[in-house]
Symmetry: C2
Subunit: 332 residues, 2 copies
């Protein structure tokens, strides 16, 4: 029968719905939905030759013409540094002007490349770009959080095909982060331990939800993931800020991220997904209770009215079975 | 420029993104996505004649053959009363057996009817069914919450076309409810007032986000809705539980719900949507700080990686403009 599982990291419950359960391969993307994409498109703003005057560039690896990875200001920013940070009140309501920074990390010059198919070195360049941009923005006045994320596929909200990640620096601590900070704080106050270190310890001992592991990182399917194939990648070293990632960890994260995404790519036929790095609020670094990590959320199933009404997600897959399936996927 | 607005009811921020802003009619469903549906389908389990032996029926208005609205146990329940309520621990993890109740409210015998096109009396029958089922389940042992919801259209998670609502009674207080209870409690502790009464008071005075109003209800676009055309319907009388709804209020709710959904139907071409009733945890009734309400969430835009990573939603519509648009829509 079904089971309700508690996610101790965000204090949400998930129904692991065996009555509606599917086998791992049932979540594969249908072949008809797979597109052939060219390596270069004249009309793509991210393809080489279409960079314009470079005044919007914030970071680059490689030469001006022969770049490998670069980041630019988002042309359609949700939040902008041109705005002054101003707070307003209207009776019981509160608002803030749209101050912040929105950047795009163009991951590769090749229009049709996919993280799952890149070399470890190519993925390493992307992580280096994330780190550079994170460090540049974390001390900026009025910025409370730097959210790094990636949308893969139209079902995950991508509007541009060219491989890219995004970053938005916000003038507030986002609810998803504040919620996890609160959980972690409460756990620390009771146990004297980091909640994320404790999760990792239990997962590495139990083994049944592990996908892969290297010197400094582990990837696994969480005990109470809200959707099929949600995957967490945790650094083994306790550190609250992604900005603290060191050289060896950059290599290891690139390698395990690429491996995990490749397993999803080959196992589920290039599923739509989002991933995001959950890092400490930038002005609250160095705390014993928080621990940054990366979460991959495949967009395979659709939340419906029950999820909207309750916040309880129905997951029609069994985390232990998904992990076993991914462990067995061979990556060429 | 963009603006961040704070939703005081769930303590979440929303970016009202004027840089990406669209006009109300840009959110219309394309005509090609509109299907013609027959009034009866032989293969539909909810159509008259296909009821089976009635052993799964929990409520009915009308005769056995000529019913108007009925409710039944869900054949594929996420949670089931056949399970015993048992709690487990596995190290730091917690789980509960899949105990609960899942029912389907078959709204009409007509396969192709839509709430927006029903008579007020037909909608009244649906609300009566909600009330009956809510009251029946709220005192059941081990049930902490009764979540009533509706999925309209495939983009909102409907798998069956026949007009129906659903209800899931859960052995836990869902996070979406607990979150709002906490906000309401904190507001009450500071101001001595109900947060929902205060919102309603400010909206009725400001008028700019109002859609419609009758003797006992008001419908409006919230100040910080997470998505275009999110709409709230509040009872004017302060009461924490939907189960307290009285005869006049049932009539008025039916009328304002039908009118609001009709405005969405004619204004946006039958958009996919979910609605849900947010009511007090059933064993915590009668509190001064909580106030039940109904929320309609059109599924017009797709949350992407930023929403997944931050919990901050980007709303590409202006609530005041959406409300004005809906106020002006004439319903035949």
């Amino acid at each position: 029968m079904s089971e309700l599982r508690y996610n101790i990291v965000n204090r949400e419950w998930v129904v692991i719905a065996t009555e509606r359960a599917k086998r791992p391969h049932d979540f594969m993307k249908p072949q008809k939905d797979v597109k052939i994409i060219p390596e270069f498109r004249q009309d793509c703003p991210f393809c080489p030759g279409n960079e314009g005057d470079l005044s919007d560039e914030t970071f680059r690896i490689g030469g001006k013409e022969k770049w490998l990875t670069r980041s630019i200001y988002n042309k359609f920013p949700a939040l902008s540094p041109k705005e002054k940070l101003v707070r307003h009140n209207d009776g019981i309501y509160h608002s803030i002007s749209g101050y912040g920074v929105a950047e795009v990390i163009v991951e590769s010059p090749k229009h049709n490349l996919n993280l799952a198919l890149m070399s470890d070195e190519e993925v390493e360049n992307i992580i280096k770009a994330y780190k550079d941009r994170y460090l540049s923005l974390q001390n900026k006045e009025g910025i409370e959080s730097v959210v790094i994320f990636r949308n893969n596929g139209s079902g995950a909200g991508t509007s541009l095909e060219h491989p890219h990640s995004q970053l938005i620096a916000t003038p507030i601590v986002p609810p998803q982060i504040r919620n996890r900070v609160e959980s972690a704080m409460a756990f620390f106050d009771v146990t004297g331990k980091c909640i994320f270190c404790s999760v990792l310890e239990q997962e590495m001992a139990a083994k049944i939800r592990m996908i892969s592991e290297n010197g400094t990182f582990a990837s696994f399917v969480p005990y109470a993931g809200a959707a099929p194939f949600v995957t967490w990648i945790f650094p083994k070293r306790h550190t609250s800020s992604f900005g603290d990632i060191n050289g060896l960890e950059i290599k290891d994260l690139a390698s395990i991220l690429k491996l995990t995404l490749s397993k999803l790519y080959y196992g589920l036929n290039n599923p739509d997904y989002n991933y995001t790095i959950r890092s400490t609020p930038v002005k609250e670094d160095g705390k014993a209770y928080f621990h940054w990590y990366l979460t991959i959320v495949p967009r395979i199933t659709l939340p419906a009215g029950f999820e909207v009404g309750s916040g309880i997600f129905i997951n029609s897959s069994l985390p232990e079975e998904s992990a076993e399936f991914l462990r067995k996927i061979k990556v060429p």
